[in-house]
């Protein structure tokens, strides 16, 4: 409730209570659909004698992790706690931060993949910055629970890539819930989904006979949209304070809000320009990523991450230098022309430069269940290529700390550091293996998955009773 709107006159303030932004001050990111997520931590828990990958690049052998009140309290050797603390002997087990997938369509393209639930692409116009993926999320998608069994505790759910600008993505905590608001990661910024290349031009030029039909049409489309957004920002600049009436109700003076009619599309694009919404761009080819970096400079926004980026290895140095993450697959390639140059070492090469930000992402209800195995493939490919050995403590950052950074939730989660959310996974061994299984998963200190007690595993409403005969 830090809305600057509240500084406006009384009448307006009452109205705006329900539209207070979750973060930031801009009205472009006011949230009328706020998170109702609540942590329900279990009692204090000490995980002992584990191999701990902290997500900060450290590996601690035979170490303990203490969780209390939904937070990481301490990580280290032989932590001393009083007798009331529950203990788990994790000898032989590995402990990591909860995994984070920056690119999921769970809920918007749920299982089963029926037409009635095909809610991921608003394929009615090439720029639909006005739509929000969260309004499509079906919380009963069984894929959420499957991802949880794979150690995924947070994810960004994005619109699809049919459009140049697909809409807002939402970051969720992976907990069973009846509403998406109850999964919505408190305070997480939205993402803006954009798409390069083949998909938009195929869907519109190829499919509907309207712009864009080419890559140059794609870029013209982004530029037109951001020109409108820049104009919108200018028009919405706070006006100099007028003399207030005694009731303070003049409409043009709501600090940061010029009071014009809201345009949902331009709200989102303006939020992106102002840095309150993270820009995530589906983009395969190196040359197109470079074009998008130029576009970002033309309009003054920052690219948080290129997604898919099968050619990211071709400009890994530039991505690192510009602080742009590469959210990538381990091995997808060749299913379309812009994916033809995929290589198995892509993530390793993107990870290589100083200040890099390599991320393993899924874009798949299967892949999200085994992000750890995707990373293992990359580690093996790098070894095969005689690249320097990638240690587990490094690889874990690809799906924890780096992912959190791309989503703007790195202050809350993504590492096992004191004060962070107690989003934790206990693995049956080294997670970078086909045989790795998440045994216990904690979200904000609550055990939400336990492999040893299947009945305790959440099941979506959809799955209930399907086995009855």
């Amino acid at each position: 409730m830090t809305s600057t709107l509240l500084r406006a006159g009384l009448g307006l303030a009452l109205v705006s209570l329900s539209t207070a932004p979750a973060v930031g001050a801009s009205r472009f990111v006011a949230d009328p659909y706020p998170s109702t997520y609540q942590a329900h931590p279990d009692g204090p828990l000490l995980i002992q004698n584990a191999t701990v990958l902290t997500g900060t690049g450290q590996r601690l052998d035979n170490a303990d992790v203490l969780l209390r009140d939904g937070r990481i309290i301490a990580v280290g050797d032989a932590l001393q706690v009083d007798a009331s603390v529950t203990r788990i002997n994790a000898d032989g087990k590995w402990v990591t931060p909860g995994l984070i997938d920056v690119h999921s369509h769970l809920g918007v393209y749920p299982s089963p993949g029926v037409g009635a639930h095909s809610d991921g692409n608003e394929m009615t116009a090439p720029v639909t910055a006005n739509v929000w993926a969260e309004h499509s999320v079906w919380p009963q998608d069984p894929g959420f629970q499957a991802a949880l069994a794979g150690g995924v505790t947070s994810m960004q759910v994005l619109p699809g890539s049919a459009n140049l600008v697909g809409g807002r993505g939402v970051t969720l905590k992976n907990v069973p819930a009846t509403t998406y608001q109850a999964m919505k990661f408190p305070g997480a910024p939205w993402g803006l989904k954009m798409a390069c290349g083949e998909n938009p031009k195929r869907v519109y030029g190829g499919g509907k006979g309207v712009a864009p039909a080419t890559r140059m049409g794609n870029v013209a489309g982004y530029r037109a949209a951001f020109i409108d957004a820049a104009d919108y920002i200018a028009k919405n600049k706070p006006k100099p304070a007028k003399r207030k009436g005694w009731f303070g109700s003049d409409k043009g003076d709501s600090a940061g809000d010029a009071g014009g009619k809201r345009d949902l599309k331009l709200d989102t694009l303006a939020g992106a320009i102002q840095g309150d919404i993270r820009v995530h761009i589906h983009c395969y080819r190196a040359d197109e990523m470079a074009t998008m970096l130029d576009l970002s400079k033309e309009f003054g926004f920052k690219v948080a991450a290129f997604h898919h980026g099968v050619e990211a290895y071709k400009l890994a140095d530039r991505l690192a230098a510009e602080g742009v993450c590469g959210a990538l697959w381990a091995d997808w390639w060749g299913f379309k022309m812009e994916a033809f140059d995929g290589i198995a070492e892509n993530i390793a090469l993107v990870d290589r430069p100083k200040n890099s930000c390599a991320i393993v992402h899924s874009d798949s209800p299967e892949g999200i269940q085994r992000l750890n195995q995707e990373a293992a493939k990359v580690m093996a490919a790098a070894r095969r290529a005689h690249m320097p050995e990638i240690a587990p403590e490094r690889a874990i950052t690809w799906m924890t700390a780096n992912a959190a950074k791309a989503l703007g939730i790195e202050a809350q989660t993504g590492t096992l550091e004191a004060g962070k959310m107690a989003d934790v996974v206990i693995w049956n061994g080294n997670p970078f293996s086909s045989y790795a299984l998440a045994e216990q998963v904690f979200v904000d200190g609550r055990r939400v998955y336990d492999r040893s007690t299947p009945p305790a595993t959440p099941r979506s409403d959809f799955q209930l009773g399907q086995e009855l005969r």
Partner: protein
Amino acid sequence: MGMVNKRRRAWPGATLVALLLMTTAASAQDLLVRGATVATASARGNVEDADVLVQGGIIRAVGRGLSAPAGVPVVEGKGRMLTPALFGGITEIGIEEVSGESSTVDSALKIGEQPLRPEFDVTLAYNPASVLIPVARLDGIGFTALGAATGGGFVAGQGGVVRFDGSADPIGPRALFLRLGAAASELTGQSRAAQWMLLQQMVDEARGQVDADSPHALLTPAGRRTLARYLSGQGRIVVEVDRAADIRQLLRWAAREKVKIAIAGGAEAWQLAPQLAAAKVPVFVDALGNLPTTFDQIGATLENAARLQRAGVPVAFAQRDDASHNARKMRQLAGNAVANGLPWADGLAGLTRVPAEVLGVADQIGSIEPGKRADLVLWEGDPLDVAHYAEQVWLGGRAMPMRSRQTELRDRYLQRNAQP
């Protein structure tokens, strides 16, 4: 093999190949692998510290303390595992280059009139120069089942087994591919019930119970002849089907018509495991499929392979999504099946011996036994674990270059700023 390039020191298997190059006197298809853990994928199981002798591209002996005949190069296998070259699944490798570009895809037939063409044979379109082949081979894959994909009809057509040694022609018998259930409903008048109706009519035609000049004929004369071959037990009919109810119908149909079938996908096959075992029907399991992706897959579980195996059903693997470009993912399927209860030996068998048996080529490939082709892979670690990689692949005893278009790209960009 003359591709060793100083600039590319980083390529794997370099030592092995150097060794081979030094011994040019022997046939390029001779070889002794010494001291490996030999995972035979046969009744012998894994043999520790064993040697495998290859001459003329054929495995001659498997055992301890074999000696290399004069001129036969020796490859040190100590601490490594040697397996048969792996099965790449039911794929379109060599019949599709870029999935999204129809000019490069030949896997499905779509002919408006008379769409049901069992005589359609995708192996005729096979391109052994496909860039997908070295990519798959680099990960230890030596053969695949080219599958006809459904285009205009639920009977997709025929495919067969190809080896990735550059040879142009399939080996072994053809297989006929068809799809049942919701995925084919659009092609059968919007009802899966019609699949049995149409199948029955085709069978009647192939058995000569419908006049050849009937205006209602579904099949061409060539189609009748083709289907008749399968109905007489020559070649396997591979059926992509998931729902238990449909599998039950399929088992009845196969028993009635006395045809050899295999199931591909089979998300709910575990629910009929005893019946499948009794009928000796193998299943190509998509071992990563645990979501109700469609209403035909409500019962999908990661334990499918393990449950089928326990009941005595022969288990092979096949994946659905991006099966061709990502055929290398097959060993991840096997590894995850093992993580979910399948014995390791059955995981390997599902990538080697079982698919070879199901597809009628087990007399040639799929296990490390004397008399079989020397299609072998030496692994840096456990082949079912994605954390490890293939060091060297031999097909017909010939060392395959451990390179692909992808490693060429990699090596160019491993040198930073290769291009501005």
